[in-house]
Amino acid sequence: MRQTSIYGKLLAMAGCAALVCALGVGTGHAASVTAEATGQVIKPIGVVVGTHLEFGRFMSGATAGTIEVTAAGVAQVTGGVGAVPGNIRVAATFDVSGEASTGFSISMPNTVTLTNTDGVGGETMVVTLAKDAVAAAGTGTLDGLGALAVKVGGAVAVAENQVSGHYENTTDFTVVVNYN
């Protein structure tokens, strides 16, 4: 019986030693985990002028009138204004580029002022811009290639006997785009 008791003690000690070794007592425990690191780089949004808004040559008359180019590029005159044939009249195109299928905001003025740059000059005409659906809404979505053309026409208010000359705007037709 005494031999059995000693054997039991030795077995217990060996078992505990094994437990100690298995759990690493006397050596530093360590544990590791891995977290994912993620980030999405979005292509910067930009806008450039594709075509400038061009009303071509026209004549003022004894009464006031307008010359208009719609956003779709259709030209027409009203009142005393007469269009000179053979002139190019086009809407402005702003080419927006960025991340495909991403929404953006766009802003621009509602009117711009044209100033006579010939001779003494200084005469002005106001253009009320005619915006396409995106420009009018102020928001749009880039297509699958990350591009969208925004078109803007306008109507020039021509006074009676408006002084002849070359009229153009300076810095007041600024378009700003940003991602939503």
Partner: protein, 154 residues
């Protein structure tokens, strides 16, 4: 007749546990949240960096512009025996990839001291943030990398 033997076993085990309580409280680490820089506008002439602070804030520098509001530092929970010393280690620099494009993540920081003592509750949560460098020629896309964090008993 076996009773004396059983008593000895119990005594030995209790003695061991008293001397090394961590036998039953091995240190452990659990990931709660991945490190997410979120979406940001960069590359194509726009260089700078974007930083996720361990506090949860996001900052951008240079021409990089943060977008959206889905971002987070990595979060972990460390568990162990109260009063036991711990140390936390992580790489100082890691890499994220998107196809052939690569970006470097550096300035990895932790919300708690990387060496300390496990509090009485037996658990402590911490967050890890970092800074992602955005080059002017970086391509757009979803970048992915791994942040390995290790905790050790001192």
């Amino acid at each position: 007749m076996n009773l004396p033997g059983i008593a000895v076993k119990t005594t030995i085990l209790c003695a061991l546990l008293s001397a090394h309580p961590s036998v039953l409280f091995a240190i452990s680490l659990t990931k709660v949240q991945d490190l997410e820089f979120g979406s940001f506008m960069g590359g194509a002439g726009y260089s700078g960096s974007i930083t996720i602070d361990p506090s949860g804030e996001r900052y951008a520098s240079g021409r990089v512009r943060p977008m959206g509001n889905l971002f987070s530092p990595a979060r972990f929970t460390l568990k162990g025996y109260p009063g036991e010393k711990y140390s936390i280690t992580f790489p100082s620099v890691l890499q994220m990839d998107a196809a052939a494009e690569k970006v470097e993540v550096s300035s990895v920081t932790c919300s708690i001291p990387t060496r300390g003592v496990i509090p009485p509750a037996g658990a402590i949560g911490f967050a890890v943030g970092a800074t992602l460098s955005v080059g002017s020629t970086l391509g757009n896309g979803n970048y992915l990398g791994n942040l390995q964090v290790t905790v050790s008993e001192n």
